[in-house]
């Protein structure tokens, strides 16, 4: 559309650009408001803060509870990436060439985690894990997060595979490489940016996931979002702002990484 609507001069569209700026401010400003609050030196939520301090960060980093929950989230997210990405590559690769019958059915089933309401998924998993003794375990959490992140990873990797010409892999195989070797040396290097993007997205989706973690992570395996959610319902002191600032930093890192990967891919 961009170049095609030039018959309307930009200044005629001033109202549209003002609206755009307001809407973008609505989307982004609330997030960046959190950052100054995290540096305040009072325990009430004041904006702008009267004076600056690092006390909430000090409190955050000296609290064993916050530390262990951050560690749990980090570990769960890393393990989830390690499970989701290989499974996602295999499924995307297999289903990319089979679009009919059983293949179509399996594709649809793998996308179900996006459609079933998360709260229902969480309750179902809670019931299942209660019977299997998997509540409050890392294994259980990683299995649940793998299921939850798989559709996203498959979608992204499949998009990468569609841009790849599979005849190249055929050539490698006709020249004597076995299937696995052909995939590893010819296909994978060409879809690696999609795979890495999927990895970053999986990481942050697992790291930030609240609802499932609320039901099945607890005790010494409580995750950061669970801890944060429980705190938010009781008190809203600026420690939360300090964690939020770190989570915003994480989102920015993931955004930058994905932009970088995208620009490399094109």
């Amino acid at each position: 559309m961009s170049q095609d609507t030039n018959y309307i001069p930009h200044w005629h569209r001033a109202w549209l650009y003002i609206l755009l700026a307001l809407l973008l401010a609505f989307l982004a400003a609330p997030i960046f408001v959190v950052i100054p609050v995290s540096f305040s030196n009072t325990s009430t939520l004041q904006f702008p803060p009267e004076s600056l301090s690092l006390q909430w960060y000090v409190r955050l980093f000296s609290s064993a509870r916050w530390q262990s929950s951050a560690y749990n989230s980090m570990l769960a997210a890393l393990l989830t990436v390690c499970c989701t990405i290989p499974l996602g590559i295999m499924a995307a690769y297999g289903l990319n060439s089979i679009r009919t019958g059983l293949g179509k059915f399996i594709s649809a089933t793998l996308m179900l985690p996006l459609i079933v309401p998360l709260i229902l998924v969480a309750i179902g998993i809670y019931f299942l894990y209660a019977r299997l003794g998997l509540i409050n375990t890392m294994v259980g959490l990683v299995a649940a997060h793998t299921m939850y992140t798989l559709p996203l990873a498959i979608t992204m990797i499949a998009a990468g595979l569609r841009r790849f010409d599979r005849n190249q892999e055929m050539v490698a195989r006709s020249l004597g490489a076995n299937r696995l070797k052909a995939f590893m040396t010819v296909t994978l290097p060409q879809i690696k940016f999609s795979v890495m993007s999927a990895g970053f997205l999986t990481f942050i989706a697992s790291f930030d996931e609240v609802v499932i973690a609320l039901f099945i992570s607890g005790g010494s395996n409580a995750t950061l979002p669970r801890q944060m959610f429980n705190q938010l319902r009781n008190s809203i002191d600026p420690t939360i702002a300090a964690i939020s600032t770190l989570l915003i930093a994480l989102a920015l890192i993931v955004f930058a990484a994905m932009q970088f990967l995208k620009s490399n891919e094109a």
Binding site: Y7, I31, V33, G94, L112, I123
Partner: protein, 301 residues
């Protein structure tokens, strides 16, 4: 997959059956690659949901009953939760659609560089934890938050206003969370429209507003409906924002569900309540498909 051109084979050449066998083997190998992922989804999603369906249909002694479902509708309170949920989702969907449309449109007419800059403000919220985005509203609208501070400094108010922990704040927080979910599909739909169509209309004498109304807008409707369906479906089962910003006053179905699980030792009532939510979600998706042709695979990010 790109097919390799194969010369037609004579049926009696003896190679055809061998090739067919190869194709079958290839096909089952490819399906086999998807099985580990399928196993995870079956184990962690399908089997628990299947068990919930079973539990919702049997009573304490294992006999078939619809009692759990019927009792959901017996209390007026529960009906009001259901009504709250649909009303909230509908409001959020309508507001998001109205705000997302000009936003996505403006993004399509911007020059490339500026568009990338603006996209940052759409995508970064999507990547930021929902808890952070919800907490931000507590800072802005809280008793000692920004809005109250500004108003007090201006002398407009003496007492801080109660702006959080109510229905309005819940709608605001939900709209904020859901906005990127509709902006992105809508933007993709607008971007894929052939500009020649609009140009042709204007070269044939259509004014910009006519060209927009008769050509551009109808072509964006599939994207709009896909985004709106996604927002509505996600809102139906949304738990985090209403439970924090609603302050216990806005009981949506997801909150009722969580309470049923926490306070009940029996699975039946909670299972039925949860499956009603799933049923509503599926019904909305089916409706969207039959009425406006939104396919389930469009309702994905």
């Amino acid at each position: 997959m790109n097919e390799i051109a194969v010369p037609p084979l004579r049926r009696d050449s003896g190679i055809a059956p061998a090739l067919a066998k190869d194709a079958r083997r290839e096909r089952s190998l490819m399906i086999g690659l998807a099985l580990p992922g399928l196993f995870v989804v079956a184990a962690v999603l399908l089997s628990p949901v299947g068990w919930l369906i079973w539990q919702s249909l049997v009573d304490g002694e294992g006999h078939f009953t619809l009692h759990h479902y019927l009792s959901l509708f017996s209390e007026p309170k529960r009906l009001s939760y259901l009504q709250n949920t649909f009303l909230l989702s509908a409001e959020v969907t309508v507001i998001c659609s109205l705000l997302a449309y000009p936003l996505a449109f403006a993004l399509t007419v911007l020059p490339e560089r500026l568009r990338k800059f603006c996209m940052f403000f759409v995508v970064v919220p999507l990547l930021t934890s929902v808890l952070v985005r919800t907490y931000a509203w507590l800072i802005i609208l809280g008793r000692r938050g920004i809005v109250n501070n500004v108003l007090a400094n201006l002398g407009v108010i003496d007492e801080p206003l109660n702006l959080v922990y109510n229905y309005f704040c819940t709608v605001l927080g939900m709209v904020h969370v859901m906005m990127p979910m509709i902006v992105l599909p809508l933007y993709a739909a607008m971007k894929s429209i052939d500009g020649d169509l609009v140009r042709a209309a204007s070269s044939l004498g259509a004014t910009p507003s006519t060209a927009f109304r008769d050509i551009f807008f109808p072509l964006t409707l599939p994207g709009l409906f896909a985004g709106a369906t996604l927002v509505f479906v996600l809102s139906l089962g949304y738990y985090v924002t209403p439970s924090i910003l609603g302050g216990g006053k806005v009981i949506v179905w997801a909150i009722f569900l969580e309470q049923t699980v926490s306070f009940n030792t029996q699975w039946g009532p909670a299972a039925a309540a949860g499956l009603l939510l799933l049923g509503a979600t599926v019904a909305v998706l089916v409706l969207a498909r039959t009425l406006v042709g939104v396919k389930a695979n469009q309702v994905e990010l």
